[in-house]
Amino acid sequence: MSGAPSPGLLWRIAALGVVVVFFQIGVVSEVPVFGVSADLSPLLVAFVGLLCGSVVGAVTGFGVGLLVDLALVQTLGVTSLVLTVVGYFAGRLREARDPQAALTPLLVGAAGSAAAMVLYSVVQFLLGVDAPVSWELLRQIVLGVVVNTIIALPVWALVRRCLIGGLPEDPRRRRRRAYTTGGLSPLSRS
């Protein structure tokens, strides 16, 4: 995204973050699928990064992480650190490659969730949490990623729908659309 994000977009992201975090801890966490609960926060942060860029993605990750840690009385800073990294790199993917494939949100959601869960585990090990690297832990991470991948597309549709009105028109995307529709292509002009 070129330039600073509009205040309207930031308000939309903040509202979406609060709603998703409370929906996560009030509903989603209490509905186990394959023995694990889906985690909407890495999906939300990755998709905000994918839509709005690395800076907005990182800031959203920090804010959502802080809210999660505060609401769930967890060690402050752990989720912020993890989600900041997820949001930043999802945004960088958009800025560097701008992928347009239909399955991009699915892959970004899966990669974001996997990165968040692995990074989270690494931070917990570094903090000295008394738990071994076990098959059970690996199973929980893999199942968590699978469940998040399953719900990635609906979450992407929801995030996109909520933010699309606040996103400025992307010049690169506009140019690409113009080429494909014919009239404005330099080739057609010659």
């Binding site: 509905v31 990182a58 609401a71 769930l72 900041t84 738990a131 968590g144």
Partner: protein, 321 residues
């Protein structure tokens, strides 16, 4: 222009990462009465009513989603329950015969209300939040200091032991579940009476291990494990005796001490309503907690019914309950 954008982007990332690390280090290093913990408790106090309202409003959604999963499991549960009903019917017949002699013995030793759950002033609470990841076996409830809930109070539900209170705000509290690595519960096997410590099974946070049992302990699959009513350290929570924890699933005989795998009775993935056993100051359980805290570590595990009786007698002598 491009360099400026790149520099700004990297600066923001570095700033946020450093900020997270500062928060993390400060939080991890400070005591539970520190500033960041206070901010967190304040936040919990503010959002507890909101979480409570949202929890009630979203219950139909949760129930609807849960209905699909429940239907899938219903058939298997029905078959298992039929087997259990048949087994329990035989046990009831046998237990009725023992019940009469049990009551006679209980009256003989005047032990019939000692350390019953009602002595702990149970406070019913609703679970309003739950951690989504495997690292935190905690839930948040809607009752706190204003309802008499204190740190280390035992938490139960209709199925058995759930955990203990870890942190308290004015209208909310954080409960650490028995599957958390920080929790250890003194427990005994229902029929043999062998006592040990129940802790989460290493590598499987959803299963428990009853450890440090004598080498000659006999236990059968399906036997119930209940709280013994003793504590193993001054920091432990004192759980009333006889609260069911789980059922024996298998026995390990590979070390000098015997241990058994225990499957928790309480469905910790589906907690809705729980009870916090809030022992009021001066009551029998609170007195017992003080006595065990002042004992040397080796003696604490052996706090027995004899000591409970002496504490009760002392409490009554001082005008206790």
């Amino acid at each position: 222009m491009y360099d400026k954008t790149v520099r700004r982007r990297r600066l923001v990332l570095a700033l946020l990462v450093v900020l997270s690390l500062i928060l993390l280090t400060a939080y991890f290093g400070e005591a539970s009465s520190g500033g960041l913990h206070s901010v967190q408790r304040g936040f919990l106090t503010v959002v507890s009513p909101i979480q409570n309202g949202a929890n009630k409003a979203l219950k139909p959604v949760r129930d609807l989603i849960g209905w699909f999963g429940d239907t899938l499991h219903a058939k298997g549960q029905r078959d298992e329950l039929r087997k259990q009903v048949s087994k329990l019917r035989h046990e009831v017949i046998a237990n009725n015969a023992e019940k009469h002699s049990y009551h006679e013995l209980l009256a003989l030793y005047k032990l019939d209300n000692q350390l019953s759950v009602s002595d702990y002033h149970p406070v019913t609470a609703t679970v309003v939040a739950k951690s989504p990841n495997v690292w935190y076996s905690t839930v948040t409830i809607d009752k706190g200091e204003s309802s008499g809930v204190r740190v280390n109070d035992p938490v139960i539900n209709s199925e058995g032991l759930v955990g203990k209170v870890a942190q308290v705000a004015s209208d909310g509290a954080q409960v650490t579940l028995i599957t958390d690595s920080s929790v250890g519960v003194s427990a005994r096997i229902g029929t043999s009476g062998a006592t040990g410590i129940v802790q989460p099974k290493v590598g499987d946070p959803n299963d428990l291990l009853l450890q440090y049992l004598p080498a000659n302990t006999q236990a059968n699959k399906g036997e119930y494990v209940v709280t013994s009513g003793t504590v193993s350290s001054p920091d432990d929570s004192l759980y009333p005796p006889g609260i069911p924890i789980g059922q024996v699933t298998s026995i390990n005989e590979e070390s000098a001490y015997r241990s058994v795998n225990v499957h928790p009775l309480a469905n910790l993935h589906d907690l809705d309503v729980v009870q916090v056993l809030t022992a009021a100051r001066g009551s029998l359980p609170a007195n017992l907690g003080q006595v065990t805290a002042s004992m040397p570590p080796g003696r604490q595990a052996s706090a027995s019914g004899e000591q409970l009786a002496s504490v009760k007698a002392g409490g009554e002598g001082e005008g206790g309950p």
